[in-house]
């Protein structure tokens, strides 16, 4: 009797396991069917491709690829008017050429004024006639600058110009100081001797200046190779998040459309749970988002030569976590919104505002400190942080785990709200 009982228990266990397996299979089939249906619905209109790949690439190119890389000259262009045509004026222009901040472009005064008036130039630098060594000696040399108001580039250009004229005039000042020191010890016999002393001091000062050693070294933090900051990497990551989050927030439009069309109600006649439906919708959209992300990353790597691929596993983890958080947010949004028109407008609005505030368009450091702390409630902030860890800091899986963890917590919270609020009608 005992052995019969144990056999039947084993049988029951086996049968229940196979039943369980069948159930899981059915659920998986349902999830796949829902995801596939959503993909077909989404790509019915060819215009979807516009938002899926064309616009993201255009924006990434314009905001990232269109901007010069470190290989190009990305210094601020300043039109320079040289009306002196002296060795001193040329020296000032040469110093500007050596600047890391500005790029001088010698033009006529009329051209410079026209560029300034049309706001095609942030600043204009004018060296009027008479800026020569004599003018420097008697302290009458004056140069001019026109600046566009409240313009950051104009402010940077002003600092660069001040540095250039300081470098040019410092040798004259040094020679003048040397003459004063000499006179304090012993008066010159004649003006000619004084002038000769000035000239030899000037030459010496210029030589010392020319041989001046570099006194500062800049090292980029936590980069495996000593690469400089590449603004294109920032733009590429930011645009990727913007263009992937907006359609994922658009899951709300899918819900609204099905609810309006009555197809959600129809699901009530089938043995499909809320969780299965939500999982199917979300997993389908996340899969499409991952394809979109990989296409954009591929574009960045191949067309823009950005280094996204140091750690593919870390990249996959952060992309997946970001997509899950955005999709869950879209699902939650879908439970608050009634019509498809409302959903598409609101999802674009949330996508754009969250991208801007999350540091996807401009580095977060530009925001006031209080705002930098406040925006930590946004998933875009963490997604951007994770991607910057990879693309700017050369981080690996361990480095992006904190951000991925926070994004998964976002996903869990939004999904719970979504499931609890979800109604078929």
């Amino acid at each position: 009797m005992k052995s019969v009982a144990s056999v039947s228990k084993k049988e029951v266990k086996k049968q229940s396991l196979s039943l369980c397996g069948k159930k899981v299979k059915i659920i998986m089939k349902k999830i796949f069917a829902i995801a596939w249906k959503d993909a077909i619905v989404r790509f019915t209109s060819p215009s979807e491709l516009l938002f899926f790949i064309i616009l993201p690439i255009v924006f990434t190119f314009l905001l990232a690829g269109g901007t010069p890389s470190n290989d190009d000259d990305n210094r601020i262009r300043i039109p320079v008017v040289d009306e002196s045509q002296t060795a001193v004026s040329q020296q000032i222009i040469d110093e500007l050429e050596n600047s890391t901040a500005v790029r001088p472009e010698v033009v006529t005064r009329a051209e410079a004024q026209s560029q300034f008036d049309d706001r095609r130039a942030d600043a204009v630098f004018i060296i009027p006639a008479g800026v020569d060594i004599e003018a420097l000696q008697n302290g009458s040399a004056q140069v001019e600058m026109l600046q566009q108001p409240s313009n950051l580039n104009a402010g940077i250009a002003q600092r660069a110009i001040l540095t250039a004229i300081r470098r040019v005039s410092s040798s004259v000042s040094a020679a003048q100081n040397a003459v004063r020191q000499r006179e304090a010890k012993q008066a010159f016999a004649s003006d000619a001797e004084k002038q000769a002393y000035f000239e030899s001091s000037l030459t010496l000062a210029q030589d010392i200046q020319a041989d001046a050693p570099e006194r500062v070294t800049v090292i980029e933090g936590t980069t495996p190779d000593r690469v400089n900051y590449d603004p294109r990497a920032n733009s590429s990551a930011g645009q990727l998040i913007t263009w992937v989050f907006i359609p994922l927030f658009g899951i709300s439009a899918l819900f609204a459309s099905e609810r309006q069309g009555g197809t959600l109600r129809r699901l009530l006649t089938t043995p499909t749970t809320k969780a299965t439906f939500l999982l199917g919708t979300i997993s389908g959209q996340v899969a499409m988002a991952l394809i979109q992300m990989f296409l954009l990353v591929g574009f960045a790597i191949l067309a823009m030569k950005l280094n996204w691929g140091r750690d593919p596993l870390a990249l996959f983890v952060i992309l997946l976590a970001s997509a899950l958080a955005a999709a869950a947010f879209g699902a939650t949004l879908g439970t608050f919104i009634k019509t498809e028109a409302q959903a598409s407008g609101v999802s674009i609005m949330f996508g754009m505002v969250m991208a801007l505030m999350g540091g996807c368009w401009y580095p977060l450091e530009l925001f006031p400190t209080a705002i930098q702390s406040a925006v930590k409630v946004l998933p875009t902030t963490w997604a951007m942080q994770g991607m910057l860890d990879l693309v700017l800091r050369g981080g690996g899986l361990v480095d992006v785990l904190p951000e991925a963890g926070v994004l998964l917590v976002f996903a869990a919270i939004f999904l719970s709200v979504g499931v609890s609020r979800f109604r078929y009608e």
């Binding site: 420097l136 001019e144 540095t163 933090g221």
Partner: protein, 419 residues
Amino acid sequence: MLKLLLIGIKDLKLMFRDRAALIFMLLAPFLLTIGMGFVSGRFSGGSTGLSDIPVVIVNLDQKELGNALEELFNSADLADLVEPTASSDPEAARRLIDSDQASAAIVIPQGFTDSVIPAEGTTFDSTAVQPAPVQIEVYANPSRPTGAGIIKAIVDEFLSRVEEGRVSGTTSLVGLMQSGLLNPQDVASEAQELFANVDESESTAITLKTDTQGAEAVEFDLLAYFAPGMALMFLMYTVSYGGRSILAERSQGTLPRMLISPTSNAQVLGGKVLGIFLMGVAQVGVLILASSIFFQVQWGDPLGVLVLILAAVFGATGWGMLITAFARTPAQVGSTGAAVMLIFGILGGSFMSLENFPPFMQTLSKITPNAWGMDGFVTLALGGTLKNLTEPVTALLIMGALLFAASVVLFNRNGIAQQ
């Protein structure tokens, strides 16, 4: 004319009843303007939102120049811009940067001052005036490029003054030695005197005069750039929303039904266009009014603002009609309109100044009402009046007229109202 007006006002009423559309047309640009205000420092009083840049200073030099640099970062002049923290461990400072706790670390190595100012008792060799370079290290945070750049600029400026002082002191010393007025045994004490306050050198041989008569004299409000940028971008959505209503009425049959009444084809289309135009004027007008009330944005000459709004909406309506004329379904107008809105937004300078784009992009931007509109709004904000708006207003009117003409041809060919 009355019919035209009635159809136009009907569409305007419908728009104000559509809460979803209103959120997108009014709330979205308003929120984005606020975000841009934060970035530009409009709400914190700077030229960027940057303030209190966290920087870690490791002063291993502990002598005159190292201390001077540390004091500079702690000075009242930089109090709003930087937030310095002192550290004695270079590795700990670098770790703070790696963990994104600060924008940059400055490591002033031991012997930095001595590499510039000859120490007491040093034998001065006039044939070897160059000291061994001891470099200050700026360890920059790559994810805070602007803050790190500013820290680097401050260090550069400090070193530039130091270098000036060094060149001046060394030139005097060498000159005196070569003239036989300085004994080798007196060089060290003379050097101490000549190199005193080396970091405070200031050459005044050339003075820089910045323009205070022209543009700089005007207080330019950055929101007067960003607010119209966002308003004009979302204006493109509004005009396509209006265009969508034409196709929606056609598919619902209300458009052909109007033709049963004694209303001509031209009157129906004219009324719809007027409706779109009124929607655009209402949207931009509300946004401009809201930014004046909430952010005290100074828009400039009111008559100029009004004329510019009308011209910009006219140009944008032309684009809305052209998109509608090409589309077959309301959904097509919606998606194409949203795409055009974003493309024109970026091309027109809503996201970043056109100056940052290559020349061909700047030329291409001229096809957008956004670029001309922005040009006009900036002119007004800089103190211009209606008479300074001739170019942008003319361009917008020509743009609108050409696009209307093209749309009418397409509408006639497709028989929009007959179907």
